[in-house]
Symmetry: D2
Subunit: 333 residues, 4 copies
């Protein structure tokens, strides 16, 4: 059933706008520790990319009073797909209208998720053109390998917190056109997490229940490295640079990603990961459903995840005293 929903309208996750209250420290982190390259600046924002990201940017870093996600953008597979999908979203009542785009991409349709996260969709893009000193030796990657810091290759996926997993999952499947590949369903029947994809990657976006029952928060985004050995070396580099390592390196049971989570200076969680040769090639993949019991086993090799991984999101929540979701068996990988 799910396979018939596959729309092919979305090509891939395109970029994330990250808000930071410490813009200079955050910029230093992304450039010198993550090894990213600045492509442009405008207003309070700096535009950045990994060495094999093909577009103008995959990260828009914006100074802000608080940490969090500004918006996330998807690229459509064609001009027609953009129009078609925008109409579906508009019709479903989530549209916020068209705008002229931003540095690096053209006309853009903005919308909200069921949980209030800001999303955008566009087709026209500016392919990154490396300046002479950054031209690669092999013309089939985007830019010279930087050999600086963690050398992140490309944006991989995004992870959100939500007050209602089911609503967000159904919205992303039926309105936005993604496919669910894995999910967590608690013994109570409540969906606690979902992983969805627009591509042959096993997920492009994931989300889990917000411990604080808040709406629209951000958990992390992830840049891909070429090997698990590079993820291990990244851990050394984070350690040497006093970057807070929250958990990892280790292997998730869900999706089997080899993960490493840190906090960038602005307080947002950032992941570097590697997935090996795992891809989702089957057009009729049925979602893997993890039970509460299964998820209580911890990560793939038995690691118990530390408390903050279940609760820390951005913007941070202070002095919250209301009811909370029990997310102890929910792993926002």
């Amino acid at each position: 059933m799910r396979s018939t929903l596959r729309s092919f309208d979305l090509a891939h996750l395109a970029h994330v706008e990250l808000l930071t209250p410490k813009p200079e420290e955050s910029l230093n982190f992304f450039v010198n520790i993550m090894g990213m390259t600045e492509t442009a600046r405008r207003g309070d924002s700096v535009y950045l990319r990994g060495w094999d990201d093909y577009e103008h940017h995959t990260l828009k870093l914006t100074a802000s009073k608080t940490a969090g996600m500004g918006h996330v953008a998807w690229r459509a597979t064609s001009p027609e797909a953009l129009e078609r999908r925008a109409a579906i979203i508009e019709h479903a009542g989530f549209g916020k209208g068209w705008h002229d785009g931003d540095l690096g991409h053209g006309r853009t349709f903005a919308f909200n998720t069921t949980d209030g996260h800001n999303m955008e969709l566009y087709y026209e893009t500016e392919w990154y053109e490396a300046p002479p000193e950054l031209k690669p030796s092999l013309k089939n990657h985007a830019m010279r390998f930087p050999a600086r810091g963690c050398n992140v290759r490309r944006l991989d996926h995004l992870n959100l917190l939500t007050s209602n997993v089911t609503e967000l999952r159904v919205f992303l499947e039926e309105v936005v056109g993604l496919r669910t590949t894995e999910m967590i369903v608690l013994d109570s029947g409540v969906e606690a997490g979902a992983w969805l994809t627009a591509t042959n990657k096993t997920y492009d976006i994931a989300f889990t229940l917000d411990h604080y029952r808040a709406r629209g928060r951000f958990h992390h985004f992830t840049y891909a490295l070429d090997s698990r050995e590079e993820v291990l070396r990244a851990a050394d580099i984070f350690l040497e640079n006093d970057v807070y390592i929250e958990t990892g390196p280790h292997k998730h049971a869900v999706q089997q990603t080899f993960f490493l989570y840190v906090y960038e200076p602005g307080g947002n969680r950032v992941e570097v990961s590697n997935a090996g040769a795992r891809l989702m090639l089957a057009p009729d993949w049925q979602p893997i459903v993890w039970t509460e019991t299964e998820r209580k086993k911890g990560q793939a090799w038995g690691l118990k995840t530390i408390e903050s991984f279940h609760t820390h999101g951005t913007p941070p929540i202070e002095e919250y005293t209301g009811p909370r979701n029990d997310v102890s068996s929910v792993d926002p990988g």
Copy 2:
């Protein structure tokens, strides 16, 4: 322009039928050295798969008088896609009609390429169900990791020889619905090689000019490993088992695959490879065109490819005395 051709009708490369004059030795190679698992036998064929291939088989190994490829099969994205694409191929004059399928898959449409290679297309498939002793610990991969030999994960791509690259490329783009991601064009203007994909992998099929100007020959197929470290270890394992290593491990300039080529006992070339985090996410990727001069530089790190890599294909050609194509700068990676 090319992006508008993208059909989304083909989901992925599904399986290859390999012909071998030494069926027992070939079977031992694939099971004990490559680390594959037998799912079934029928007639002169044994059906095999890598530990994370989700279908019944990705390799059909068939006893035959000579080495070569029996056929290659693709899986469609839906029943409708199968019908639609079969009709297009039929209309273009390459169809060979429908049959009931084979072990592991249902109704199938057979066709020829412009060069006479046998291809098939189907949708209905039998998902592999691991027997109790082979159940994985994590339910999101297909089968227990074998920890035997090279431990190949999944079928990755296919490589053919052809008497006419342009014809085959245009056929696969316009009739079959694939996208070209990289190609080699000689100074004479003759296309000497092309790499095409149905997925977000950077290629699912590739082909180059046949040195002997023969039609319909096979160059190699490739199973994916999770890391370059595993490819290096595979080289040790091949060496310890007297498997002929033709070239590698090294990195291709074209597609940047980390490769290792051997001959299985039947004489067919087999590759194990790893591509890291490289994917083709852009919906409007323009083919990278390599010139003759560029390709004469050898592989990515300067390795000169040995002669046989340009000339050896299956079925082998003996005592050929006619004109030949100069493929010295053509690298069928």
Copy 3:
């Protein structure tokens, strides 16, 4: 000062006798999961080795009522070194006399440590001669790479529990002739752990305070793999075979070893690890002294070690109700 103590009498850690109450299950673990090779059987013992161990065996697996270590043996650098060192140990009052040796090695001097662990020293050894079917392709490693299970390469080090770290360290330095490379000293001034070497490896033996104040217990031994990638794959293999993973893979702060600890079926802890290119080449290396505060930071990348790593040893201690050592900041890596 310490460098003048270096004796060069001990060549390397030679083998460990491991006691198991489940001899068949333990043997299956070491052969099929660790990937070791059986060289001989005698009485209640099976003799085993990794694929590049040069001696007859590095593990003597002996059926016993309880888990634990039977003895550990060192090889001397020469016949003269054996005599000289035996005389020193005898003179210090720890000698237990000479015996004729065992399968694989000749005349042997037995002695106790200050804590009652059984140790042996010998020089004459039987170099492993691979049978024809296990001859390696390259004649500079001991045996064909097995391509089975974790493929452990060679015995690396031994880890003990002790009731008195200082006594054991001084004994091993001054009487046995090892060098200390790293140690843990608590704020109270009590030594809580020490790592010593006979070679250019950074340690061949380590020991920490026994939580239960017992004498002569065993913590783990370790086989070396060629890469961190192989340690990660070993974790997958342990998971697939229901082997209990206690902690890891992660990197120790002390000695920086990339570790993975499991329990073999008999209850003994076993480690697989990789140390990269780190060696102790300096002849005058001054021991690194870790403080209590430093060790409370957890492992290199912040992992908190689980309780059992501090307390579980073999033979196991049941129903103990006496005083205990606080080992919460002691990491027996």
Copy 4:
């Protein structure tokens, strides 16, 4: 027999003085591409080290009219070992007298090899003390991991060319006190190559016949990386920086080192390598003797080594017209 020769007087290879006609370009290569750190400058020399070299420097880069090796230095295991070994070398007639040392080390005994290479021996050394900004997070490695270029860890070994392998080998064994671990003996009985060690590494120095029958030339030196994956990444970095890659990455049959050879801008050959967990622990290791037939098989996985690897040394030899040694089966790994 050979084991009785083992002296334990030499601790390890200490540093190499490299001569370069392009000092600025060479310095840029070692700092920005190899990832080394400058510790001092004096006269025409810059002193450099890898991030885990414990001494003041392991490379002294000296401006010169031609490429080549200035000298190679060894560290003794103790003051007594220095005196003892110097007396033996002096008595054998190879001594060139004592001098006060250099930046980073004290009183030094200079001598020639049988082939005229300049060697030095000392004990007193200056341990590297990282400045605050380069302090490591873990106090058991020498300096902060640089995360720049290839990140070479430590000096590993040295490789020379010689007019007479046997003479040089016997000199290094009997006079200098090293052990031979592997060697190449041609069908004619002529020794064509030898690998010797002072440590538990399988070699610290190697040498092969000089094709041009010259005396005292230099083949390459090698810095160790932590993994084969890092060697592969180094190849990418060399490629991106237009560094000439001569051969590799591949695995030597002799010593099984995973190698990658490049030319630094001054024309000297430099290697980065990784040896995994292979060590030479046996005190009575008998040298592996490779025959001419065996060596003609190429490298471990079949790579044919390119001509220049057999002939290029520094200082370069131009317009030589005399008799030459046939080194086609000699692999100076």
